[in-house]
Amino acid sequence: MPTYRELLQQTKSEISELDARAAREKQGALWVDVREADEWQEGHLPGAVHVPRGYLESRIESVAPDRSTPVILYCAAANRSAFAAKTLEELGYTDVHSLAGGFTDWKRNGLEIVMPRTLSPERRTRYSRHLLIPEIGEEGQLKLLDAKILLIGAGGLGSPASLYLAAAGVGTLGIIDADIVDETNLQRQIVHSLDGLGAPKVDSAKRAIQALNPDVDVVTYRERLTSENIDRILDDGWDLIVDGADNFPTRYLVNDASVWRGIPVIHGSIYRFEGQVTVFKPHEGPCYRCLFPEPPPPELAPSCAEGGVLGVLPGIVGTLQTNEALKLAVGIGEPLVGRLLLFDALATEFSEVKIERREDCPVCGTHPTITEYIDYVEFCAR
């Protein structure tokens, strides 16, 4: 049986080792740090991804799905990375190298390193189920903590969205709503409770969010979104908008502003037993006016109390919106861009229709005809 030394020598003779200069000349290479988490926290190479050697086999395919990708592996002193290189060759990777001298020599030679931002022990515990998912991990959780998401409405859709976004650790949540909590809201608006009756919805929601997760900074706007205030509110710098508005004028205002400012909108709407969800990502996919260039006539817009809604429906649709928001904030998965998801609660059936960008879209088309906000009159029943 070989000793460790003999095995290391044998392995090193079988793999490719590159010095820092040669490694940096490898075009398009993926740099993988195979050290342990505590070593990574003390600094790593710029642009490297962290895959501890113990997880190398199980995680490498998610960071390097193409086995012909050049991969540079490093550890502290090029021993673990040598074994790691051999493992990747056994997995079929064809252009694998170990960085000679490892991180120690790199740092000693004065080459650039970066200090990772890290989560506090309390946050590591709170978000541990996210940290365990390779697609999110610490980097994704930090993105969530940095994210600023604006919720239009703290009602049926905004309730589950605000709670799940807060639980997920989205660092800043904005909430716009002018209403007061009343008894009829409690059938579905789960962010509010009996002790919030009579209070502004934004305050009631803020209390619930802060009771759930003090990491979240809640910015409240107790006002109705109009052409007068939309620019002031959006100037606060939002990465994403979760649209749970209850009326067409707001939907169109939000759409037009988001196209002009390039802010993705996660759209949800509900009526009785049916819901719709999609993502409007400006200039990459269609916008709301590509889908519906103009509002329907009043008799087709029963968006108010007369319509009614199954209490759990906004829960389903609002959590689907949240799913899209979290994916966009972390930068993973396939967002619901160009696809309108339809949910029928009675049949328990999802269906999907394609939505395409319209060249003649009045806002995001090639020759836009709408270039300033339009205040549509409210046309739901009073």
Binding site: G153, G155, G156, G158, A178, D179, I180, T184, N185, R224, T226, D243, G244, A245, D246, N247, F248, P249, R251, G268, S269, I270, Y271, R272, E274, L291, F292, P293, E294, P295, P296, P297, P298, L300, A301, P302, S303, C304, A305, G307, V309, P314, L342, D344, L346, A347, E352, V353, K354, E356, R358, P362, I370, I374, D375, V377, E378, F379, C380, R382
Partner: protein, 112 residues
């Protein structure tokens, strides 16, 4: 025969049905047939030989505007989805006095 999915806001016009049947080799023929079977529903979607601009029609998941419009072929067994916009979110009635002090809506963009 094709299946036409009726959106919730138009169910009254379809006698409460979630799905109705209609036939035709093209969308135009199908909508004409629908207008004969259920005139109230048909007129909400289709009038004077064209589809209302605030209603989207999908044949087998594709927006007919991106296909051949009213000439889009419809197969036997196709699913046709009628989809007007839905605004609902919180579905709370506007509070008294909350109505908008808005200026006149743009005639080009608002059908009212």
């Amino acid at each position: 025969m094709s299946v036409v999915r009726v959106p919730p806001v138009l169910r009254t016009e379809a006698g409460g049905a979630r799905e109705v049947e209609a036939s035709g080799a093209t969308l135009r023929e199908l909508l004409e047939d629908l207008s004969v079977r259920l005139p109230a529903l048909g007129s909400r979607v289709y009038a004077d030989g064209s589809i209302h601009s605030f209603v989207n029609v999908y044949v087998d998941g594709e927006d007919v505007r991106t296909r051949a419009g009213l000439d889009t072929p419809v197969r036997d067994g196709s699913t046709v989805i009628l989809l007007p916009a839905m605004a609902g979110g919180s579905l709370t009635p506007p509070a008294a006095g909350r109505s908008r002090a808005a200026g006149p809506p743009s005639a080009a963009a608002c059908p009212r």
